[in-house]
Symmetry: C2
Subunit: 183 residues, 2 copies
């Protein structure tokens, strides 16, 4: 796959991503959306699609990696991370990534976000120099929990008070005491 080295490639990949999104918004099933449809709608040749991506899934998953990298950089900036900081960053950041949530659900790729969140949890545990037994269980448990918590927030029509939701997150995660050294 192309590295995003020049502007033309960035532009082409944007066209492809937006084209895929268009079919979701039109209500077409993911399985019914062909690479040919995506290419036609993006105004590019089918071969151009394949010079950029191996598959439809890859269009979404490479974007997810970008989003996750950007999300991680928000966390790394925090010298000391409290559960309430983590909750606030998680909720504020992902509230702006509703489209990514919808795309993953449309494509049946939700588990990829849960996997990325599990990796993220492992990084948090390591960053906090916390010695954790059964790290796989802990990272996966919180990945599933965080994913569903975020999904509930994002798909909730009437948005709750942010402070209330952060407090609830801290309570449910027991102040993330299994991930962080401090509450």
């Amino acid at each position: 796959m192309h590295k995003k080295t020049d502007k033309r490639i960035v532009r082409t990949q944007e066209l492809i991503f937006n084209s895929l999104q268009y079919f979701m918004e039109k209500g077409v099933a993911y399985s019914e959306t062909s690479i040919q449809d995506i290419s036609d709608n993006a105004g590019i040749a089918r071969q151009t699609f394949y010079r950029n991506y191996l598959s439809k899934d890859e269009v979404i998953l490479l974007k997810l990696d970008e989003v996750m990298d950007c999300f991680m950089s928000n966390i790394v900036d925090c010298k000391i991370l409290h559960a309430s900081d983590l909750a606030a960053i998680l909720i504020k950041y992902w509230s702006n990534e509703v489209k990514m949530f919808e795309l993953l659900e449309w494509a049946g790729l939700e588990k990829k976000l849960i996997d990325r969140l599990s990796t993220f949890n492992k990084q948090i545990i390591e960053k906090n120099e916390k010695s954790v037994d059964n790290i796989e269980y802990v990272a996966n448990y919180f990945a599933g929990a965080i994913y569903m918590f975020l999904k509930t927030f994002i798909t909730n029509k009437k948005r709750n008070n942010l402070e209330e939701i952060i407090n609830l997150f801290c309570k449910l995660t027991n102040n993330c005491s299994a991930l962080l050294n401090i509450g």
Copy 2:
């Protein structure tokens, strides 16, 4: 769809379920497994499939409902439910349903199990007459958490000591204090 009223129908539905499972075990992609393939392999006519099920998904999801009902009946029998009981029942029950986990993953239907677990959590909360604010968040949070915890246990090649895993579950869920009245 047929109700399972007579033995012949039960037998046909078993043949269909086993046939679907056969394609998973053979390594065929779910999307590449047609109703025709499933019917041929089950030794039934395509119309017979459609007299029993609307789709491939329904074959798996109706079985999931059966498994969940049976699981719930294990919980309802407990007069007082402690977090450790819940953990033990969850782990022991689902250890015998590895195939269902695999089928859901193969078909990209994991979120259906998470949804069922969320409904289960709401029932637990109601059964315990617990007054819970934001019940949707609490039920979904634990549904994602429990799903990933079970998945880690089930897919773990080297099985941990059961007691250790139950203790870890109690610790991570804070003794399920958000679901149960007692720890």
